[in-house]
Symmetry: C2
Subunit: 562 residues, 2 copies
């Protein structure tokens, strides 16, 4: 593998790229001028009318990119997603990428950006990583407007008899801000509100983000918003947004945000970037509208889901496919030799040393995810995303392992070579789509009882031997059934680092049980969140946040995003 | 005065209007395509390069629209601003309007919108009243990112020894949310942050909003941001954004927001709408960049300042003219017969009854504001903004009163008739600009000591007999001088309802003193805020918020903005 003479940073590559006017990109996939609203010259919102106009057109084939359990070594799932889209385009396929919008919190915290990397990026990367077209700000505003309405309702006489101790709706900011996790509000005396405990989540953990990503149109968005349970009254009955009568104003705040955003990759492949819910507390996929629109406009849609196949892909396949009414054609499972070595027990600082034994041991993690996708009945290809430090013996070992098991595998060099580095993956993918059987169906039926649905995920996706419910969760199961919410799908909130609920158990843990500590009904989103541990819904900043390197140069260009 | 056969709501008028592509509007004032970034088809951001390109062009004449002290009767200052711009355009003058961006808090609270009214509106009114081009969201994000950095710094060891009891930087939301006025954050134990008192202001009260509106370019913005004092260390020394090293990232978050926004009026007059600071805790005018750009692109700039002439205009003339290096050509003082009757002692529910005596008594309020503008040495015209309920006798009385005093006066019917209803005002204004002497200068020199500067404003603008300083303010005066901030201009925070610091004293109070309770140095903005009472920096929602009427219809159109 050749090293670039001059290794450029992601932002340098992105800023030096030739970028086409977004109207040209739109035109290339048949979007009429009336259906595009430019936001600057290189971003645009797409009218929902496109879906109506193309209602009778056959959907393109949807390819889901997922990965092994994430490690500090990095897997490059977004980079492979972008690179694969570019590769399909090079093979003259009409491919469209559908991805999530980055949250500012992680961008300013540790990540510095989330738009792919190297020569497989979506651009303009600064805009996408900063405010983009304002969707996340609109969601923040709608979320907090609802909070203000709840507290105002209580202050103005509390006609609905909301129990301030049982409000479950939290405020949000799209930042990493641990000091806001637990707060007391309404202090200062009688004219300043009613004191109560509250907390802030990061915006991408808001139920409104999940709703935004599952809604099929504006009216469905409003309907879902009206069903949000914000808390309970003194009789412990649920109080909804509909009871407060504010679903109209919340929908109004989201009426433009709900339109998917069109951008392009470094190689001018169209990319629709829209919505970005957490993959633990929520379902971790870009909006249904983005995926559906990409499927109408393209012959191939390359999309991704958050974290590993046990979280994002499981939810994509069990939850999102139903809301979106899509039938996925294939799955790409991304791994890196470095990440597999970590799953095999190697520490981060020793990753540059060849270690075939650790790699072989770590392959068990990949194997479990492969088995999960087989369980769903979808063709797949394993994508080994190459790093400069990978040795030939390591590459040989992984190839041999896949061949022995008849797993389709491709090496990708999309970071270094862009679409060219993903040609092998694209070809193998086209091959499995054409020749392999696809018997996709979700792993459980919504009609099953909640315990059964959770058991199914735990056993078939995590490889657990069983599920335990805390006494709190058992009590909640009864309440959820009593409220008539028992037939909703399950959104598991589990650590992303392990197949189990213990983040320290890498590789493929065995003989473990999953403990459900708490259940949180998200009636607007339309799922029951099952929490298996302390799930972080508001990250903190590290000692040296990425923000300290961010700046604007004299010409007004962004500096320090990566 | 004729009544329209069919009285349409503001939003109906706006939604039925013919709107031109924003690129046409830009072209009409000579903006090159390379300097415009469309946000949809009807809004655009303007490149700051325009200012560089037109550096040597003479400035257009700047006309400031102000008003009597606001009353619940309404004065229609924004409507007159828009109508006057349209009227100048009808007289074939190259006129550009410069206005503030509405805050979502009041829009969802009581106002329902802030884009003029009737046939004198800026459009698209829904977009402008909702998220517009995201400027305020960018400011919210920058403000709260700074808060997160402060709390993270403390959590990570507090190297700067920030005293958590002396942090003056507050968080913001762009909503009316009284429950957030006083909060305790950082609760939950050792890994959740450090507990402290905090509070949320509305975004338009953020010092970053004031800075945004006073900055002359991106580098000046960054310089001002670095000087923000966020709090004090245990030695009571100021701690700045520069000390935390985050001015670069805050500037990056604002790099697009800082570009002024171009829209149009119902009659296609260009309007630059940018920034919107409070007129009590801040200076209450649109951005310096918007005003300067309008002055370079047009021959006449019609701009407004918040509240009455004692607040917005005073700050425009004493603070903004210096940052913007502009010399105002004339002032329009807006009054309504209804408002003057309230200043003369009439209750709101009796405003529809003719009452010439109360009107005559209320004219004292107008007279004080006229005297203030005379004090500044600027030509002016009084604009009486007509309402359907005004009687002929009332109109005669006010005309006679002005004639006796040789005050130029015009009746405007811009709400009902658009620009046509402002022709008389426009002609009288052009006349005073051409023929009256203009000896404008600020009322005080920055080099004067703080007490003198405050005394000057209190005596010459409010008509007070003197100023008293609380013991707290006296202590702060010493600290401010010691920190070297004594030569900054003063930003008075006073009730908007009265010339005095008692909101109940309407008309023209006499023999009163102003009490300065507290001083707040805003070093980034570059002024010292002097608080004369409880100044509201976070409004609350009424029992029935405007939001309850807001909705989206089946076609995706906004409903319930007005």
């Amino acid at each position: 593998m050749k090293v670039h003479k001059e290794v450029k940073s992601d932002i340098e590559i992105a800023q030096n790229a030739k970028i086409l006017p977004i109207i040209n990109i739109a035109k290339s996939i048949g979007i009429e001028k009336v259906d595009i609203e430019p936001y600057g010259h290189y971003k645009a919102k797409l009218s929902l009318d496109i879906l109506k106009k193309l209602e009778n057109k056959q959907n393109g084939k949807v390819i889901l990119v997922t990965a092994v359990n994430p490690t500090p070594a990095g897997e490059g799932k977004s980079t492979v997603t972008v690179g694969l889209g570019q590769a399909l385009a090079r093979l003259d396929k009409k491919a469209i990428i559908a991805m999530r919008e980055p949250s500012l919190g992680p961008t300013m915290g540790v990540k510095g950006g989330a738009t792919g990397g190297g020569y497989s990026q979506v651009i303009p990367m600064e805009d996408i990583n900063l405010h983009f077209t304002g969707d996340i700000h609109a969601i923040t505003t709608a979320n907090n407007a609802l909070s203000a309405m709840i507290d105002n309702h209580i202050y103005q006489g509390n006609e609905l008899e909301i129990d301030v101790r049982r409000i479950v709706w939290k405020r949000v900011v799209d930042l990493n801000d641990r000091a806001l996790r637990n707060v007391i509000i309404g202090l200062g005396g009688a004219v300043q509100g009613v004191p109560r405990e509250d907390g802030f989540d990061i915006t991408v953990a808001s139920e409104i983000m999940a709703i935004f990503c599952l809604a099929s149109d504006l009216q469905n968005l409003k309907h879902r918003l009206s069903k949000i349970v914000v808390g309970y009254n003194f009789k412990k009955e649920p109080i909804t947004v509909g009871d407060l009568g504010v679903e109209g104003s919340l929908t109004l705040l989201l009426k433009d945000a709900i339109k998917p955003n069109l951008v392009q990759t470094l190689e001018h492949t169209p990319a629709i970037i829209h919505g970005g819910p957490f993959a633990n507390i929520a379902h971790g996929c870009n909006s249904v509208l983005a995926t559906k629109m990409a499927a109408k406009l393209g012959d191939y849609v390359v999309t991704e889901a958050g974290f590993g196949a046990d979280l994002g892909a499981e939810k994509f396949l069990n939850i999102k496919t139903q809301s979106a009414e899509i039938h996925p054609s294939a799955v790409v499972i991304v791994a890196t030799i470095r990440a597999l070595k970590m799953h095999g027990g190697v520490e981060k600082q020793e990753l540059n040393t060849e270690n075939v034994n650790a790699l072989t041991s770590g392959l068990k993690n990949l194997q479990k995810h492969i088995e999960t996708i087989e369980e769903f009945g979808i063709p797949f290809v394993v994508a080994i995303n190459r790093f400069i430090t990978d040795t030939d013996s390591e590459v040989m070992a992984i190839k041999k392992w896949c061949e022995e098991r008849k797993y389709p595998v491709a090496l990708t060099e999309v970071w270094e070579k862009g679409g060219e580095g993903g040609i092998d993956l694209a070809q193998k993918l086209l091959n499995v789509i054409e020749h392999e059987k696809n018997t996709f169906k979700p792993l459980y039926k919504n009609k099953q009882v909640i315990e059964e649905k959770i058991e199914t995920i735990a056993r078939k996706v995590y490889g657990a031997s069983g599920v335990e419910f805390s006494s709190k969760a058992k009590k909640q199961l009864v309440e959820i059934e009593a409220n008539g919410w028992g037939e909703l799908p399950i959104c598991m909130a589990k650590t992303q680092y392990s197949l189990s609920d213990n983040p320290k158990l890498l590789g493929r843990p065995e003989n473990f049980t999953i403990t459900i500590r708490e259940l949180r009904p998200k009636i607007g989103a339309g799922f029951i969140v099952a929490l298996t541990g302390d799930v972080m819904t508001m990250p903190g900043l590290p000692k040296v946040p990425a923000a300290l390197k961010m700046d604007v140069d004299l010409s007004g260009q962004a500096v320090g995003l990566f």
